[in-house]
């Protein structure tokens, strides 16, 4: 599944400015049992720092994910992330999708249903990649592949900093 290539798929990616970070204010009275609804920005904060599999830049810096690419319905416990690969033939699209899924599985409450997809019209094999990323049996099998898991962990490490 992972093809290690000598040449970079996208040798010169466009790098964008990082957006400002939200400062979390603690409420005056802390109610431990209050359930804070999860919003778009919180989801974005979970995934913005994921490292691109082939560049030293984050998915935010490469505009692979933006805040607007996240749809969240906290009441229905549903989130959908639409990502845009940097080039149409990016063979790393599946890895990026897996990174997004793994990060959200680890960060969100288990009641959450997560859908990951490629932005319509931005990838040559969009339907194939989308089907793979949303087949949980294939995802489970992929995550038992230690080589692949290592690549994913490496991409996720900046998000836990």
């Amino acid at each position: 599944m992972v093809k290690m290539v000598a040449e970079l798929i996208n040798a010169n990616p466009v790098v964008y400015e990082r957006k400002e970070r939200r400062v979390y204010k603690l409420p005056a009275v802390i109610d431990e049992y209050a359930q804070e609804p999860i919003d778009q920005q919180e989801i974005f904060d979970h995934i913005r720092d994921i490292k691109d599999p082939e560049h030293p830049y984050s998915l935010e810096q490469l505009n692979v994910v933006t805040e607007d690419s996240i749809e969240v319905n906290d009441e229905k416990s549903h989130v959908r992330v639409t990502f845009t690969p940097t080039v149409e033939h990016c063979s790393m699209a599946t890895i990026i999708g897996l990174c997004l899924r793994v990060k959200l599985i680890r960060s969100l409450p288990s009641r959450y249903k997560v859908d990951i997809r490629i932005a319509p019209g931005t990838h040559a094999t969009e339907a194939t990649v989308n089907k793979q990323l949303n087949d949980k049996e294939r995802v489970a099998a992929a995550l038992e592949n230690l080589t692949l898991l290592e690549v994913i962990e490496d991409c996720l490490s900046p998000t836990f900093a």
């Binding site: 288990s110 009641r111 249903k113 089907k131 087949d135 949980k136 049996e137 294939r138 489970a140 099998a141 038992e144």
Partner: protein
């Protein structure tokens, strides 16, 4: 007709350390230490657990089958005599467990699949075992004396991974369902001993438009139900010897809003489905036979049956109103279906 039914949770079985993928009721638990009932479950935690009622009536885990697989155990199936349990794993092998002297022992390991094995099924006679997996193939194994299993055929035809295989309840006919959205029927050629695909049910034959995850026959084998990522269940008329006449009977849609992973037909004719929307649905044949009426209708929907995806639903062969379900939440539940007036 007034449909009054209630599905009540009667047991909650906890022990697996990861998602539970699949369940199998032992069809002849009396052959396993005279147990009154026995359920096997398999999980992402790489183990298989055996559950049975204790003398007080409460259910308990009586055995943990481990060390045979080093990756997820995706599916399990009991032989018709209840003495053997076959388990299929992502580690590319199938293990055969035999009940010997109060314990389950791994007596054979079947190797051949290139990678993840996803499903296993015993034929009605118990003489053939079918397996399938990510390598797009279906393997047929002949059960021989002395725990020997000989591969008699490798069936190729699916263009993507094969999600599940299931034998017809009475005949040596095998059905497989796949990530390629199709359902294939396999049978032996009358003249030679060759197995081949005798029928493909795809979108052009009113079939599914996305991954087909599971199938189940009714007791007599004249109906089959399939479920899919396209959020529908489909019922097929399979009553005729001539495979070309197997046809789509009806589509049940609008009941689940995420992928339907499992479907099972009870011996009393109730179809259960389990899906990624955490819900289960029960369907029955419509007693109103007028032409305009749907042939199958919803009996009830159990929202929030589990805290996460429902991966497997299985009716007990001994107590037709007892249903078992398994989920990503790591829990197995037993449910009692009762009619209320």
């Amino acid at each position: 007709m007034e449909l009054g039914a209630e599905l009540r949770e009667v047991e909650r079985l906890e022990g697996h350390g990861d998602r539970v993928w699949s369940l199998a009721w032992n069809p002849a638990p009396e052959n396993c230490g005279r147990a009154p009932a026995m359920l096997a479950s398999c999980s992402g935690d790489k183990t298989v657990r055996i559950w049975q009622p204790t003398s007080s009536g409460a259910w308990d885990c009586s055995a943990v089958l481990e060390d045979a697989h080093n990756r997820t155990v995706r599916s399990c199936a009991w032989s018709p005599n209840g003495k053997l349990l076959a388990t299929a794993s992502f580690d590319s092998t199938i293990a055969i467990w035999e009940y010997i002297g109060n314990d389950f022992e791994c007596v054979a390991t079947l190797e051949g699949h290139e990678n993840e094995v996803k499903s296993v099924s015993w034929s009605a006679s118990g003489l053939l075992l079918a397996t399938c997996g990510r390598d797009k193939t279906v393997w047929l194994w002949e059960v021989q004396p002395g725990n020997e299993y000989e591969c008699v055929s490798v069936l190729q035809g699916h263009s993507q991974d094969v999600k599940m295989v299931q034998w017809h309840p009475n005949l040596d006919i095998l059905v497989s369902v796949s990530y390629d959205n199709s359902i294939k029927v396999w049978a032996e050629d009358g003249d030679s001993d060759d197995w081949h695909c005798v029928r493909t049910l795809n979108e052009a034959s009113s079939g599914h438009s996305s991954t087909v995850w599971a199938l189940s026959f009714n007791t007599t084998g004249d109906r089959m139900v399939t479920c899919s990522d396209d959020l529908t269940l489909k019922i097929w008329n399979t009553g005729l010897e001539d495979y070309d006449s197997w046809r789509h009977l009806c589509t049940l849609s609008g009941y689940h809003d995420r992928t339907i992973f499992s479907v099972h037909w009870s011996s009393e004719g109730v179809i259960a489905s389990g899906a990624a929307d955490d819900a289960m649905c029960l369907f029955v044949e419509n007693q109103d036979h007028s032409v305009d009426e749907a042939p199958y209708i919803l009996l009830l929907k159990k929202e929030k049956a589990h805290d996460m995806d429902v991966n497997s639903v299985r009716w007990s062969p001994k107590e037709p109103s007892l249903l078992a379900s398994a989920s990503d939440d790591g829990v197995i539940k037993l449910w009692e279906l009762s009619q209320v007036s």
